[in-house]
């Protein structure tokens, strides 16, 4: 044997003969370690073996009882494992051609005749055995090749699978890295049914304050931290996404620290998972706070512009600024605050509430009552007083309880303090115009925190309000000036006409007497009387004109003194002498208390004017009563007092009577231009002295002035006195 594939596998050869002796002979002839000789003593036996396994060769006796060799061969060829095994017929009897043909037809490959040569038999069997072994070897080799091929394919497949897994892993790692590295959005997945989080990107901690691992299994993270109206929108978006339509929604979120964040979330429903069969909701939630704030800011700024335009219309509509300010306060509330209070500084420097508005109209009284607590004033250095003093605005974004207690005249207590609970944020802006603070506008909010941009807006509003107030004040002043001028012209003409009446009638009377040839009636006595009367009227007219001229000089700041040495007592005597007749006519006696030699360097003409004005007033308002005039030396120079027992001047008017065109007495009863005391005040001031009045209603009036004896650069200081009876000159 040249080869042995496997020593365990021998080459099977089937020997068929009905005679055991014959089988024994065959066995002995063909016995070889390479062969496995299988014996069959009948056709049936042979067929069973042949069907059960493949034989390298079948040696078949032709003549057998029941089933002969020919039939057996046909059966073997009909099916079974040995269908293609070569069959060698062994025969003795039928050595004729018919049998040989029959054998070949039945599938035999050879025929041997008994008695046969053992050598030939061995050789023939060997050929078939070798053929079988070779075919088996070929089969085995091809099997091996196939196996090898199969192995190599499997290895390749495994490698490909491994690489793809690796790639998948890399992709997944990249995805996880990506998810982990993002910081301005949150990537999440949630159960479609329960809305429980399945995964949340770690960025959630930085953005919302909630850790990702806290959130897995969390049910209403987005909805639970959103304002109600946003929660509704978010749930609507979820429903839409569940129905398969990817949806985006803007929603607010209250972070762990309480800040409001604007998010935009895009929600999609994922494909069904092959393994779990679940469909999850996936979300990409982006922080859009900055964008939203910009939008909001833009909206606010547009709103602010619209508001300022509206406010401007109101401010320009009327010159009654108290009414206008009330309108502004009502425009501000509730859009820009819970309260708004407007304060103005009066002419007396007192601060008054001129307008107030509260979101809840019933609480408007509260604002004024809280004013008394000097809210935020910190001993008048801050708050409304502070803004008025410094002209600077104040912004307190977050007003705390402690801050209120520290800056107001407020004590911890249930009543007053509860009312202040609503003060969460506060702004006070001054209304400034031409370096003057007219007042303030205060804004208080219980829900929003005022920012720098609110301050800027309110400052603009205050600036416009200040301009409107200033315009109104200027207009009122201009109107008052026009009115004063008209009134002055009317009074001036009255004052000028009054002395003209006796003058004109005296002259017309003389003219009539001449015309009627009644010269005899024009006696020297009459003429003297007429001339005296006329002279008095001319003096009055002259005095009026002097006063008008002086006023003009004072307004143009051209009041110049022509100083010369003079005796003040002598001047008083002279003036009283000029007024002898008017004093008698007014039934006024004069008490003179004149110190001698009160001599100084003064403008005699102007001091005479002062004395005339004082004496005229004393006669006018104190007719029927004595007048006292005193002249004395004083520590600082000369002192003059003119005292009447007339109607008197109310303390409130003590300052005013020295102002231009001002009079304390009713114009229905008393004439006068309102110039006399104004001129007196200015002349005395020019001399470096002071003038004041002591008086009250019904108690007469005493005008006192003091002037230095000579021209000194220093002005005399007015002595401090009771303010109810004595007031400073201009």
């Amino acid at each position: 044997m040249e080869y042995s594939l496997d020593p365990r596998h021998k080459i099977p050869i089937l020997l068929v003969d009905d005679k055991p002796d014959n089988l024994a002979v065959l066995q002995s002839v063909l016995g070889h370690p390479d062969y496995e000789l299988v014996l069959a003593e009948s056709g049936e036996d042979a067929i069973a073996h042949a069907n059960a396994r493949e034989f390298a060769a079948i040696l078949l006796d032709v003549q057998m009882p029941r089933i002969d060799g020919i039939t057996t061969a046909k059966e073997i060829r009909a099916g079974g494992h040995s269908i293609r095994s070569p069959i060698i017929f062994l025969t003795a009897l039928y050595r004729d051609d018919l049998y040989i043909n029959l054998g070949y037809e039945a599938g035999a490959v050879d025929c041997l005749f008994k008695p046969y040569d053992p050598q030939i038999l061995r050789s023939k069997v060997r050929v078939f055995a070798d053929l079988y072994a070779t075919s088996k070897k070929v089969l085995q080799q091809s099997e091996r090749i196939r196996e090898a091929e199969q192995n190599s394919r499997d290895r390749e497949l495994t490698e490909i699978r491994f690489r793809s897994l690796q790639r998948e892993h890399q992709l997944q790692r990249k995805y996880v890295d990506l998810v982990n590295s993002i910081d301005n959005c949150i990537i999440w997945a949630a159960d479609n049914e329960t809305l429980k989080f399945l995964s949340v990107s770690p960025s959630s901690q930085a953005l919302t304050g909630f850790k990702a691992n806290e959130l897995v299994d969390c049910l209403d993270y987005w909805v639970g931290h959103a304002p109600p109206e946003d929660a509704v929108q978010f749930l609507a978006a979820i429903d839409k996404a569940r129905s398969g339509r990817p949806t985006g929604v803007d929603h607010r979120f209250i972070s762990k620290s309480g800040n409001v964040i604007w998010f935009n979330t895009r929600i999609t429903l994922a494909e069904q998972d092959d393994r779990s069969g679940q469909r999850e909701l996936r979300g990409l939630t982006v922080d859009v706070t900055t964008k939203k704030e910009t939008e909001l800011q833009l909206k606010r700024s547009e709103e602010a512009q619209r508001f300022l335009a509206e406010a401007g219309t109101h401010l320009a509509a009327s010159l009654d600024y108290n009414m206008t300010l009330a309108k502004i306060a009502n425009l501000v509330v509730p859009k820009f605050g819970t309260w708004c209070a407007i304060h103005l500084v009066g002419d007396d420097r007192k601060i008054r509430t001129v307008a107030a508005a509260h979101r809840d109209p019933e609480k408007i009284q509260l604002i004024e009552s809280l004013d008394q607590l000097n809210l935020f004033s910190l001993g008048k250095r801050r708050g409304i007083q502070g803004a008025i003093k410094t002209g600077r605005s104040e912004l307190v974004s977050e007003v705390s309880r402690d801050f209120l207690l520290a800056t107001s005249d407020l004590h911890e207590g249930p009543g007053a303090f509860n009312a202040l609970e609503e003060i969460k944020s506060y702004i006070c802006v001054p209304m400034c115009v031409r370096d003057r603070v007219l007042g303030t506008i205060s804004f208080v909010s219980d829900d929003r925190r005022y920012q720098q941009r609110d301050l800027t807006f309110f400052e603009e509003l205050a600036r416009r309000a200040a301009l409107a107030i200033d315009n109104a004040i200027l207009y009122q002043r201009a109107e008052k000036a026009v009115h004063t001028k008209d009134e002055f012209l009317s009074i001036a003409s009255h004052e000028l006409r009054t002395p003209l009446t006796p003058l004109k009638i005296q002259i017309q009377n003389l003219a009539r007497l001449v015309r009627d040839d009644k010269f005899d009636t024009i006696t020297p006595q009459l003429l003297t009387k007429v001339m005296e009367k006329c002279d008095r009227q001319l003096n009055r007219l002259n005095s009026l004109i002097e006063n008008l001229l002086s006023v003009s000089q004072i307004s143009l700041e051209r009041l110049k003194l022509d100083r010369a040495t003079m005796d003040l007592g002598a001047l008083v005597l002279d003036v009283v002498d000029q007024f002898r007749d008017p004093l008698v006519n007014a039934n006024c006696s004069v008490v003179l208390d004149l110190e001698e030699n009160v001599i100084g360097q003064w403008d005699e003409f102007k001091l005479e004017q002062v004395l005339i004005n004082l004496l005229t007033n004393a006669i006018k308002y104190g007719s029927g009563n004595p007048i006292t005039i005193q002249v004395s030396q004083s520590e600082s120079g000369a002192r003059v007092s003119v005292k009447d027992l007339g109607i008197g001047i109310a303390p409130l008017d003590h300052l005013r009577v020295f102002e231009l065109f001002e009079r304390a007495a009713p114009s229905q009863n008393y004439g006068g231009l309102g110039l006399g005391l104004f001129i007196a005040g200015n002349v005395i001031k020019q001399h470096g002295g002071w003038i004041r009045v002591e008086s009250s209603i019904g108690k007469g009036a005493q005008f006192i002035f003091e002037i230095p004896l000579t021209n000194t650069p220093k002005t005399l200081a007015l002595p401090v006195a009771d303010t109810t009876t004595c007031v400073v000159a201009p």
Binding site: R497, T498, T501, I505, Q508, N509, N585, I647, S667, Q668
Partner: protein, 123 residues
């Protein structure tokens, strides 16, 4: 109606009172003067009833308007004619709003004064 001889002058200006008085007396009238409304009312009470009152408007203590109210409130004085004498620029307008018989704006023309006196009083 018989004209009366008396004329009452109410004016706070001494020189005006005296000048008018002189002129009217020379013309034959009897003249009483008062320095303000209050004195005017007293003169009505104390003196013989006048046929005419010359009344200034702006006066201390009681002005012309107040005097008219008081005069008209007393039935026996109501019929006494009053002519306003005033230096007020709006004297005529003011006089029209009052229950008076006329107005002479200061400075008064002598002829007008005598005409008015002649109209209401007998010499």
């Amino acid at each position: 109606m018989e004209k009366l001889k008396n004329i009452l002058i109410i004016d706070d200006e001494y020189d005006i009172r005296e000048t008018l008085k002189d002129i009217l007396e020379v013309s034959g009238y009897r003249v009483i003067t008062a320095a303000h409304g209050e004195a005017g009312l007293k003169a009505l009470e104390d003196e013989e009833k006048p046929g005419l009152i010359f009344l200034d408007l702006m006066m201390p203590r009681m002005n012309g308007f107040e005097f008219m109210e008081r005069k008209d409130a007393t039935p026996e004085y109501r019929e006494i004619p009053v002519v306003v004498i005033s230096a007020d620029s709006a004297a005529e307008t003011k006089a029209k709003s009052m229950n008076v018989n006329g107005c002479l704006k200061k400075p008064i023309h002598l002829d007008s004064l005598l005409e008015v006196a002649q109209k209401y009083c007998a010499v």
